[in-house]
Symmetry: C4
Subunit: 273 residues, 4 copies
């Protein structure tokens, strides 16, 4: 585990944030100080020229609130219901890969934090724990499981069934990663997945050393179509969320082929620019 330890100094992060962090951007600055540059670049960077990454941030500036006044605001609530689960706010923890790159407690700690905040943790295929393990580590947290669909269909079926048996609330199928992106920051820093990092949700045929983030493209079955979504619909006892839809046409197709919900997303600008 020594190769992992250099990636983050949890004590340093804890100390820094307690002292200085006022907003989310501050945490990014603190993270950059605490992390190995190649890991920070993997977390913070986007694909290509990072044009999409910048546009994603600027898109928020185009939203303007229209405040109304003299309304009784003593009791206000941001609570919402998402696929029959009550959450404290309409913000979930999106699936992200490799939490143990930045902290040794990894996905379990983040899932417990999500539960403490009253919202759903979405567990990534690219994590260090199986669904059953995470359920044991964060039993009080509402959990969804994000699925990358390998070419080994039996492996996928087993994974989905373990998810359902572990008390998860939904399967989130990511469809906007047909190919891994050209992540120039990762190429410049020679970012690689450490060999010691377990990836138990990837089928045996793929469970080999992975040299770069782009190498992970191999875990995705490029031949998937809407018909496969129907197979998943029949296989999974859980609701299915299709993540990565960017057109109205595809949102309609997702509903027709069995999705219970869609997530509009460009993968955070991380894979296609």
């Amino acid at each position: 585990m020594d190769s992992m330890r250099r990636h983050a100094d949890p004590a340093l992060i804890a100390q820094s944030t307690a002292v200085n962090a006022v907003n989310v951007a501050d945490f990014e600055v603190l993270a950059e100080r605490a992390l190995d540059p190649s890991v920070f670049g993997y977390v913070a960077g986007g694909a290509g020229d990072e044009w999409t990454l910048r546009q994603n941030r600027e898109a928020f500036d185009r939203w303007v609130l229209r405040p109304r006044v003299l309304v009784d605001v003593e009791t206000v609530a941001t609570a919402a219901t998402v696929l029959d689960t009550e959450v404290s706010m309409p913000i979930l923890v999106a699936p992200t890969a490799f939490h143990r790159l930045v902290h040794r407690e990894g996905e379990g700690a983040v899932a417990r934090a999500a539960g403490a905040a009253g919202t759903i943790f979405c567990h990534s295929t690219l994590s260090s724990v199986r669904p059953a393990e995470l359920a044991a580590a964060a039993p009080q947290t509402a959990r969804w499981f994000q699925l990358y669909w390998s070419t080994d269909r039996q492996f996928t079926r087993d994974l989905v069934q373990e998810t359902a048996a572990s008390g998860y609330g939904a399967v989130v199928l990511t469809v906007d990663l047909p190919l891994a992106g050209r992540r120039e920051r990762d190429l410049r820093t020679a970012f690689a997945i450490p060999p010691a990092l377990p990836l138990p949700n990837i089928s045996a045929g793929l469970d080999r050393p992975v040299d770069t983030a782009a190498g992970l493209g191999a875990i995705v079955d490029k031949t998937l179509t809407w018909a496969d979504l129907e197979w998943l619909r029949d296989t999974s006892p859980l609701p299915i969320v299709v993540k990565g839809v960017l057109t109205a046409e595809d949102a309609e197709l997702a509903c027709e082929h069995g999705a219970d919900a869609v997530v509009v997303s460009n993968h955070g600008g991380r894979q296609l620019d």
Copy 2:
């Protein structure tokens, strides 16, 4: 008063402005030199990312004059009448808090300056003087009183009646501060209201040490609605201005519930971003 003295060096400001200040932006530079950083941040800063603050300034650049020529301009006038008061120009002195943070003479000096400029001074609830005191300090100045409405209704009634008895021309009810803003500059500088600063217009139940600007949120009654505006209308012998309206719907509601005027304002981008 020693804790106050460090906040500003009036002699330095006076000397600097006499020498260098060519426009309003220059005064901001001079103020930054003369003031304690936390006080300067409180005066100059906005809420959140200060996006609204920047937009407020940029909005002025979208106004373009359309000059006409060969018109006799020997005698020109900017005078206007506002709620039956003649002013030398259509610009009033908006209510701002805690003038004694930046100069020991505080609201009295600013009110006299407003009078000398021929316009109205709007006296903030968050000042160091009661309406009767300010009337004595600046008797020649047309004055309005800005009201934050505490949960102690008798205290509010007394304050409004003292205002009317002190020769004020209007009550300005601020409605765009249902909650105090997250002012990140203040958090970074650990800005706090000095204990020595009197706040006589805040009801006894709230007149306790206040640690940050955000702590002042407690002075506002979050349950206020348009019905309360009608109560104020019946209580106040003075015209009522509702400040902080940003939608046409609310401007109509304000008129229906007793306002004599509204001020379109987002609180200078200081409280909501």
Copy 3:
């Protein structure tokens, strides 16, 4: 003349431009090196925040050419006819003040250069030479005379008649300077018109030391209206150009009251921002 000499080093300008100047912007850089800062600020600066000055430059970027191809371009011409005068290109030398601030040869040298380039030189009221003197200094150049209209009407009548008698082609009445602008660069540098600079086109009543560029506002009669344009029309044997029109309404009024042409201009952003 020593007080003038420091303003410019003609030898330095000549040497520098011969070596390095590739475009118009280069001349500005060279001028900044060669001139006294207050003089450079007067020449290069605009009014107020210089927003209009910047917009004037950016406006050029909004013009896009639409090239056509395979057209015989062996013989091309930019020649044009302006108020019956043939010019080599549709660009005239606009009236600008105080040429002797930047070079001892002043308006005469610039007028000869304009003639050599085949275009019209517009001679400013705020120059160091009378119309008859400039005619003698640049007899081959087509000349117009720009008029600021003082309150001394007989002085204005004599000036216009000398202009006509000296072979000028038009009188250009500037109407966009009802008041001198607040030129902050000039205030910061304490720019002043040197006492040694002659201003023979300003009437005796105004021919006193002038401390700042803004002080020149006194030379303009603020009571001028379209009726006065008709008086000028009857007084001047030359065509009249009204300079400083920014609205279609005023362009129509100018024609109705005797103008032969108008110049759309905001005074280069130098006087109103």
Copy 4:
């Protein structure tokens, strides 16, 4: 050839790119290090203020992809057919001048690289090799020949016939260079075509030392019109591409007068701004 050698250090470029280049912009940085500044300025610079050059780059940012999901992408292809030639992608190698300024192997090496990439190399009139020589140097590459049309019509006819006889696929007539641009970078660096650089595709009457890039304007016949395109159509056994069309009207005229295709181009912002 010593005067050529300083322009580029191929070994340095090879070593640098192998180590660091992640994207096209990186190659520009590496090229700037390896090349003589005047040569780099010639390659990278544009005309005038380089406004068009910048706009050309920014135009790419206005294109946004609209991704569709759950489509089988195991087999994807970018192949296309251009004037009956199969290419691996819809990107050709545009004609550019003087390859031997930056590498001693010049056009031959670039043509072989284009062939290896499966696309067409467009050979510039302003190259160091005749069509027959390039055909011998890169026989496997699909080639087009870009024509600047000199006033010596017999020379042009011979050049076109050699092109056809050498197995080229098209003649590309450049029509957006009626005059050479004012390239300010070249003026500042005193860029000049080295005397040792052969220019065998320029007619004898023009084959004299050329001092600057602008001096090359002499190679273009300014009197060309659409009628001359018809002459070329009758002279050339190859398809004709008209390069440099920017208006729909000219695209229609090109088709009417014998063009088989047009290239929409502003000459990369290199000649007109």
